[in-house]
């Protein structure tokens, strides 16, 4: 009996110790709180901000370092430390989902423009309408990017920079194929040129023209949809409906089939342009970021060998593109939302941001950086194709940012892939996709 008593006492003691330790752990703060050093030194409050960004890491290293210096100048009374982690694109979304599910504490996160609604609805992103308006977001950013920072009429993020989908080409091979770059500007000229490019490319051991297959097919299809006057979604009374279930959508879907028949390749393994920089293709539909895939030596005289232009457009119509890029937001769990906002403002400061944009060939969302000669000249100097990039900036459109959008994109991917693999007609693909998309808002 004494033995049993001993065991029971031992267990009870264990439970008490665990409870006490748990209680203590709950009381201790999970992140450092502002502390004040001894009174002899100038009053400086120590603050640590935690941030989560999407890869690549080096761009954030450059931006955070420059922003920290700016912040120190503007807030000498705060001893700021930024702890940040960088995740690959897909992992970043997963990380945000798990963080939202766990209501995890963080101060700044980078959000792809299409994810905003999802995390706002999850209650994970803080409404920064007052701060953004006071900062002058409506005057500072180009209109499409202002809209991209909003959800349900409020501001939840600031669009830091953008990118655009373009068409890259190798001048020497085009010359051998007897194709003028100008021939590729119209849809008809482009289609005629594809077989010629392919023949010469094959002889050179290269691929001809490449348009991204899975999983990015849809993003690259949108410019064709926009050129023909279509939209991704249109607002209805009860929500949204497909904006592509029309002649524009069918025409744009038919472009994919025409490209396939002309000999365009749709690689599904996608290295973001390394294939083009590595000399494996003559014409490559890739983003503005493709420039960064060339080495510094190659970039020095790149315009002699490489050219870039907007997507081919039907005769008489204007070429369009799709804008991507990253938004900066403050999670609702932030312990220092005011300081996080101050730091975001430093990251967005034209003096801080412009060198980073120039180095990584990103496009500015802020008018002042694109238009003020003090900043635009930096971009012009560093980015050899700045005039084309600048044109893309004004002809870009953003994707919707409501929570249902990932499903919309998946439905379109499913049906458009079938067109590429010739398993359905463009008409059927568009109608089927529209039916499924419309059903998302019909309960």
């Amino acid at each position: 009996m004494a033995e049993i008593k001993k065991w029971v006492a031992f267990l009870l003691l264990g439970v008490v110790v665990a409870a006490v330790m748990g209680g203590c752990a709950q009381k201790s703060p999970t992140t450092p709180t502002p502390t004040t050093p001894p009174s002899e030194e100038p009053q400086k409050t120590k603050v640590t901000l935690t941030a989560y960004f999407a890869a690549p890491k080096d761009r954030w290293e450059a931006l955070v370092k420059a922003a920290e210096e700016k912040f120190e100048e503007e807030h000498p009374n705060i001893d700021l430390e930024i702890k940040y982690m960088v995740y690959p694109y897909g992992e970043m979304h997963k990380k945000l989902v798990t963080m939202a599910a766990a209501n995890a504490e963080a101060d700044i996160v980078s959000i792809d423009q299409i994810w905003l609604g999802e995390f706002v609805e999850a209650g994970y992103i803080k409404d920064i309408s007052n701060e953004a308006k006071a900062w002058g977001i409506e005057d500072k950013l180009y209109a499409p990017y202002v809209k991209g920072c909003m959800y349900d009429g409020n501001y939840y993020a600031v669009w830091a920079w953008t990118d655009a989908r373009l068409m890259w080409y190798r001048k020497d091979i085009l010359e051998k194929a007897n194709v003028e770059p100008g021939d590729l500007k119209t849809w008809e000229g482009f289609l005629k040129a594809v077989p010629k490019i392919k023949d010469v490319a094959e002889a050179e051991g290269m691929g001809g023209v490449a348009f991204p297959g899975a999983p990015w097919l849809v993003d690259w299809w949108y410019p064709y949809l926009f050129e023909n006057g279509g939209k991704i979604l249109v607002k209805t009374n009860g929500g949204y409906k497909a904006g592509f279930d029309n002649e524009a959508g069918i025409k744009a879907a038919n472009y994919l089939l025409e490209m396939k028949k002309a000999g365009v390749e749709f690689p599904t393994v996608w290295k973001w342009g390394e294939e083009f920089a590595g000399g494996r293709y003559v014409v490559w539909f890739g983003g503005t970021w493709v420039l960064g895939k060339f080495s510094e030596e190659e970039q020095a005289n790149i315009s002699e060998k490489i050219g870039v232009m907007m997507f081919p457009a039907p005769s008489g119509k204007e070429s369009r593109t799709l804008s991507g890029g990253w938004l900066l937001a403050i999670p609702s769990t932030s312990k220092h939302p005011d300081i996080a906002w101050e730091f975001i403002k430093c990251m967005l400061d034209p003096d801080v941001l412009t060198p980073v944009l120039a180095e990584y060939s990103y496009l500015p969302t802020q008018k002042v950086i694109a238009e003020d000669s003090a900043y635009a000249s930096q971009l012009e100097e560093e980015i050899p194709f700045w005039p084309v990039f600048r044109e893309a900036l004004t002809k870009g459109a953003a994707r919707p940012n409501m929570p249902e959008y990932p499903k919309v994109a998946e439905i379109l991917y499913e049906e458009l892939s079938k067109v590429v693999y010739e398993k359905t007609t463009p008409e059927d693909a568009v109608h089927t996709a529209a039916e499924k998309v419309n059903a998302l808002w019909q309960g």
Partner: protein, 283 residues
């Protein structure tokens, strides 16, 4: 009293392990069932969850892509388990006889030391139609390993067999060492050599090991998604989207957490059925 004490003590000693097991395995499983029976998505995760009954399971039954994922899983698991077992067992058998086995064993085990993500990226680059080593330097013509919906699943299976075979090899080699050499000698005296010895003596003796090995590699392959995610993301045209990848995409790409949980329960049931089938067959 001493007898009572003696009978209670083992249970008391097991209690900590039980709590750990309960906390880390049973509770999440029950939680998963709870989520699958409610309507939980990323957009309402912070709000109250409505009871959804079996509607998530009904959705799966009516979703053609869920059925497609099961078919893809069947192909993938079949190819991987057959490949891993046959190659792994053959290597184990050869190594158990080979004098130089100590030299070769580490070479064959090497892939298993690699992270599955690194394996995925490596094979993705090897299979790349235009940049890949296989097409450019070995074959000198272009096979769309990961770009043709009819080929891609087999390419991913090759990568997984390369990675996972080492486990079967080690496991089966251990099982072969468990056979009493006197039995093998006796079989030889009775005239059983080569394949006959393998078929009528060795395999029946290590049948339980084979069953456990098959159960383990089947379960791991059914649940595997990271390799496929890295190599193809489920494409092209969903030809490599297995049920586990479908589950991942529902939960993390579309934020449909309940649907992801429902698929997880289906996968658990599938694993149990397969494990039961192997155990029955090995009797």
């Amino acid at each position: 009293m001493a007898r009572l004490n003696e009978s209670i003590t083992p249970y008391l000693l097991l209690l900590p392990s039980f709590f750990v097991l309960f906390g880390l395995m049973i509770v999440p499983m029950i939680w998963n069932v709870y989520i699958a029976l409610h309507d939980v998505s990323i957009t309402n995760i912070a709000k109250s969850w409505k009871f959804a009954g079996l509607s998530n399971f009904r959705y799966l039954v009516n979703d053609e892509w869920f059925w497609n994922s099961l078919l893809v899983s069947a192909k993938f698991v079949g190819a991987c388990v057959a490949g891993q077992f046959l190659i792994g067992f053959s290597l184990a058998y050869l190594l158990s006889k080979e004098r130089w086995s100590n030299l070769f064993r580490p070479v064959f085990i090497l892939p298993w030391f690699m992270s599955i993500i690194v394996t995925g990226y490596s094979w993705e680059m090897l299979f790349h139609t235009r940049l890949g080593f296989i097409n450019n330097y070995l074959l000198h013509f272009r096979i769309p390993w990961l770009e043709d919906p009819d080929i891609a699943i087999w390419s991913v299976a090759i990568a997984n067999v390369w990675w996972g075979t080492a486990f079967t090899m080690l496991f089966m080699e251990t099982s072969l060492t468990s056979i009493n050499p006197e039995i093998l000698d006796a079989a030889e005296v009775d005239g059983a050599t080569g394949l006959k010895k393998l078929r009528y003596v060795i395999i029946p003796l290590i049948k339980p090991f084979i069953a456990v090995n098959l159960i383990l590699i089947t379960m791991w392959t059914v649940n595997l998604f990271d390799l496929i995610l890295v190599m193809t993301g489920g494409g092209p045209l969903y030809s490599t989207r297995t049920t586990s990848l479908y589950m991942y995409q529902q939960a993390f790409n579309f934020g449909e957490i309940s649907l992801g949980s429902a698929v997880g329960i289906v996968l658990l049931a599938l694993n149990l059925v397969l494990a039961y089938a192997y155990l029955r067959a090995s009797r």
